[in-house]
Amino acid sequence: MALMLLLAIYFLLPVYFLIVAATKPQSDLASTNGLAFSHFDLFSNLSTLFSRSDGIFLKWALNSVIYAVLGAAVGTLISALCGYALAKFTFRGREFLFSVILGGVLVPTTALALPLFLLFSATGIVNTYFAVFLPSIVSPFGVYLARIFASAAVPEEILESARLDGAGEFRTFFSVAIRLMAPSLVTIFLFQFVAIWNNFFLPMVMLQKESLFPITLGLFEWNGQTARAPLLQESVITGSLVSIVPVIILFLLLQRFWRTGLASGALK
């Protein structure tokens, strides 16, 4: 029990520190105790944060949302289609296809980023939304999960009866299978959302234009400038807090979906 409490403090400490620091004026950061509140300046910190460089922080936040929400939504749909086909259709080369995709789980995504950059610069999509968005929709782990979930959640009899009623395969998928798979699709969506939201190396390699940055890259750049512009420190801290709190709340609310995903990841 004591050990668990100690660990809980360890996990909470940086976030608690961030909350406290975000409420302080820049001048108090170094001069007051980091774990105790001083002058409450959260709202002026927030307005500085959002007005800095013509409101670029809001732009970064929106970019992160676009990359992560749209990318995960498209990614979940195509993973679901593919995983469902792998689970429910028998065809030649099925196992081979699945092994190739599973091999993709082991490919380090950072090792992909540099060659992708070269390919994208040859085709001219470097430094555009697509350069980050397109690679993000591919999630081999999502297909793996979708296959497991489809085998478990979609009974063969229901598909047969839908077919007997004359529904085409797509109709069957979109009106019957997808409903049965809904909880697992949320799981896949969450995993992919977090993966894209947390991604840093790919946007860093692909983007030079600040207006296309996601939050992670933007805060990284600001953090690098604090040595020359110490006043940025408070905005980096407040920005970090603004970027993590909504996500933490979101996934605490959706906890049970994580557990299903992690459990099936472990069943291997």
């Binding site: 996990f11 950072t110 540099l114």
Partner: protein, 315 residues
């Protein structure tokens, strides 16, 4: 659903009307339509870059007529790989990451395992609270986590440094000997709860009767945990180890952030940082060779580990 007769005729028409596979599945065109939306981007953004990196890694840029001549790209065999293996910076980055992995991965997984086992005992209170706090860091991007911790390491701002000073210690989290472990701490903070939850989920799928039987045989909680629970969830432990090995070799964000405040992290601190630095110097072929070597090491280590452990476990 109407009556039986029309359905029966439909069966006949549907099997007779179109060509079907042996298993009674849909037509090939339908299967292609299901698989392509994923498979096409997968090929374009996974397989093609891998192939392209391999191809690039066999090329060299040469110049005609001395330093100011025009450059041309040609096939160089294993020249780029020879250069990688002769590069001292490459070996020191590998050495660093090796040291990091050998210490950080076992420590993190051991803590995760102990937490999962404790959460699985009926004795512990506040289970949901502990589970949630441990998993919370997973929602924090690596860059942000590193920024948060870098403030906790920074001598000017950190309450930790202040606290330790008041008891007579003068830690230098960013010093040459410590900074690697400061980065390791960020990774541990980020991933312990995630690994713990994988192990905990596996523990929860063990049927309770097993424990009752062991208790009747006089096994203590301790014995049950280490002799029964741990071996059963071995596949999950192997899985988390493989994920951790992959993660360690990909390390980039945490040291890159700490580099912003510590002069003890070079631009070639980890293999990925080296690859990026080389690519920024426009030597793409060399960067491709480094990326391929990192990927091969990742594959060899993760597969090697899986083979080794599954043999030992007799699976």
């Amino acid at each position: 659903m109407t009556d039986i007769a029309p359905r029966a005729t439909r069966v006949v028409t549907s099997t007779g009307g179109r060509r079907r596979h042996r298993g009674g599945g849909p037509r090939a065109g339908t299967i292609v339509a299901f698989v392509t939306p994923f498979f096409l981007p997968f090929v374009l953004f996974y397989l093609v870059p891998v192939g392209y990196a391999i191809w690039q890694s066999f090329l060299v840029v040469r110049r005609t007529g001395g330093q100011y001549g025009t450059s041309y790209t040609t096939f160089g065999g294993f020249e780029q790989y020879t250069k990688v293996f002769q590069n001292d910076e490459f070996w020191s980055s590998i050495g660093r990451i090796g040291l990091f992995g050998v210490v950080q991965v076992p420590v993190m997984l051991f803590v995760a395992l102990v937490m999962a086992l404790l959460l699985d005992t009926p004795l512990l209170k506040l289970k949901a609270f502990f589970r949630i706090t441990a998993f919370m860091p997973y929602a924090v991007p690596g860059v942000i986590a590193a920024i948060m911790w870098s403030y906790l390491y920074s001598p000017q701002i950190s309450p930790l440094v202040d606290g330790l000073k008041s008891v007579g210690l003068h830690p230098d989290f960013l010093g040459p000997g410590a900074v690697l472990w400061s980065a390791a701490n960020v990774s541990t903070w980020l991933w312990t709860g995630y690994n713990m939850l994988i192990m905990f989920s596996a523990l929860q799928s063990i049927p309770q009767e097993l424990y009752e039987a062991a208790k009747l045989d006089g096994a203590s909680n301790w014995t049950i945990a280490w002799q029964i629970k741990v071996p059963i969830i071995a596949p999950s432990i192997i899985l988390t180890t493989v994920f951790s090995i992959i993660g360690t070799l990909q390390l980039y964000a945490e040291p890159a952030v700490l580099r912003q405040i510590s002069s003890n992290i070079s631009s070639t601190y980890t293999p990925n940082m080296l690859a990026y630095a080389v690519a920024s110097g426009n030597n793409y072929q060399q960067a491709a060779a480094i990326s391929v070597v990192i990927a091969v090491i990742t594959f060899v280590l993760s597969f090697g580990f899986m083979r080794l452990t599954s043999k030992k476990a007799g699976l």
